[in-house]
Symmetry: C2
DNA sequence: GTGAAAGCGCTAACAT
DNA sequence: ATGTTAGCGCTTTCAC
């Protein structure tokens, strides 16, 4: 019933527990014979190292904290999948925390991570996080390596991996323009997070680049829900708003847009073209298939993990933060393809 | 730069560190004045408890390990979402591990959990796990609380939460029968996991119950992929196999079935009805909308967490394992509704 | 209501 | 190549 420790192994073999510890850690100064004996005894006694003790003593836990808004959002669970894959392959474990889009929860999670003495933190911030968030400042103050992905705090000098949201907005809009659409509605969100700002900028620059005037009435603030997409289309149609394409901040919103357009008897893509953002699984399964911008979710997670590993290697040299920017990928499907391509 | 400990707080206040520890843990024997002073000093010095030390000493880590095949599968990420929500609310953190459907990885994950002295493990086993899996046996041997969800080891006396897969298979089939379908194709999987066995049993019993003979040619072994659904339909149509409905083990497979049927000019649900399993997000967005069986994913995670908490409370009484069985929910959509309902 | 002291199971610097 | 020793930062029993 009592847990077996290195002391038990030492007793069995009539050596000291420090020799056992060295043998188990494959210390070069230990003879092969001793190592073999120790390993066999360890196995026989069913010994398991106590990581708590080892971490406490060594100051390294081999655990990193990952904090995301919600695993129920496929974007985040895919990124976490990528993070875990790489970190696991490098001997790290993942402590997981969901902020549930609440700054308060997020702060509590960070606090727990700090208490657990994680070797680093990978995070995507809540929608309402401000640029000088205390919790994140505390991470830096304690010299705990920090990596942001997707939703970052722009003013903090922290490594991050994002997609080029500006470019994402640009190529989505450009694609619509090239398909002959001219009055392109853009559904965006509150502008406190850079990702939405950037997409909007990309949208505006694309219009300008192709000599199309920006019409403020064609930029509306919305959210990630299918419902919003339906409602805004219903409203705009009722108002007689004149648009011939929609670039939505997220695929679910775009889906709502499509549903309402179809219900209103508007042909997609002949009368109105639609493009979303995120490449959700359903996009290729619906009719018409939804054009979108893919965000390389798993790659994003993998890159975030690699960024952390790099950061950790050069920890003493205190390197300047590194920004990895992934390419957004235009996925053209039938919802926006009215020319031959 | 040096970490602040309870000793630092003690020095500041000219009391002993054990008083500080008690004050921080809200020990009843400590005066309110002392508690207040300690808390203020802790805050001022920016103290963070070292959980490694506290866990090592107390023997409780307040961490539980969660091991799933892959977070990239929405079913699992939703369940983990539910688990984290409840465990977090009860003061626990989640150590996450993906087995990637590999028994070897799974064993390594369990080993790490054991080394990290987790207070319990919640798991959904890999497809190839056998009933006497060493890693899971080891968990029990160490008296570490264990809870399975969805994919369980039947012969192990372990608490678990599943849905009633038998009933799921039954009501899916019954629904098709009531819609007038008679030659119902069932796509199942290898029979080593109970979930697929149960669904198949439910299917057969439903047929029998309604006096429809079971035709072995209408039961095929497949997998979760859309491709499999497409291919099997193509094959069966080529063979001239006569079926008028399909009950697929998973929505993606069902989606492949629908796509191929439509491409072959077969009307859904008029000529062939289709029902899937899992209630993936896309089901309500595709045309025709896909009927399915919902598995209460988030609830499943929450129940698994509650089961663990209960288990942990009565740890000394060594309670008999408790099986929570959730109701499968029939979701009727247009892919299988050819009568008025 | 607070102090003293032991020890959780390791790592690592210093001996030999 | 192995032993000795001192902690890591807490919790907890036993004093007073």
């Amino acid at each position: 019933m009592k847990r077996v420790t290195i002391l038990d192994i030492a007793k069995e073999l009539n050596i000291t527990f420090s020799t056992v510890a060295r043998a188990l850690n494959d210390h070069p100064a230990i003879s092969d014979a001793t190592k073999k004996a120790v390993r066999e005894t360890a196995e026989r006694l069913n010994y398991r190292q106590n990581k708590l003790a080892s971490s406490l003593r060594s100051g390294r836990s081999n655990v990193i904290g990952v904090i995301v808004p919600s695993l129920h959002v496929s974007f985040f669970s895919s990124v976490v999948h990528g993070i875990e894959k790489i970190m696991n392959a490098n001997g790290y474990n993942i402590l997981l925390y969901q902020s549930n889009e609440s700054k308060k929860h997020q702060a509590k999670g960070i606090d727990t991570f700090l208490q657990s003495r994680v070797d680093g933190i990978i995070a995507s911030v809540t929608l309402d996080t401000d640029n000088n968030d205390d919790a994140y400042q505390e991470i830096k103050k304690r010299n705990t390596p920090l990596v942001f992905f997707d939703r970052i705090l722009e003013t903090m000098p922290v490594s991050s991996v994002t997609i080029d949201d500006y470019k994402g907005g640009f190529i989505a809009t450009e694609h619509l323009i090239k398909q002959g659409y001219r009055r392109i509605l853009h559904i965006t969100a509150e502008q406190n997070l850079s990702i939405f700002k950037e997409r909007l900028l990309g949208y505006m620059d694309a219009l300008e680049h192709y000599g199309i005037p920006v019409d403020e009435k064609l930029v509306v603030k919305g959210n990630f829900s299918l419902e919003f997409g339906r409602n805004i289309v219903k409203e705009l149609l009722a108002e007689g708003c004149d648009f011939d394409a929609v670039f939505a901040l997220e695929d679910y919103t775009a889906m709502g847009v499509m549903q309402q357009l179809m219900e209103s008897g508007i042909k997609i893509p002949e009368q109105v073209g639609v493009i979303g953002f995120a490449n959700e699984a359903f996009g290729s399964l619906v009719t018409p298939q939804l054009s979108t911008i893919a965000q390389q979710t798993i790659t994003m997670g993998e890159e975030a993990a690699r960024l952390f590993l790099e950061l950790n290697k050069q920890e003493k040299t205190n390197p300047s933060p590194k920004k990895v920017i992934l390419e957004p990928i235009l996925i053209v499907r039938s919802s926006s393809k009215r020319l031959g391509e």
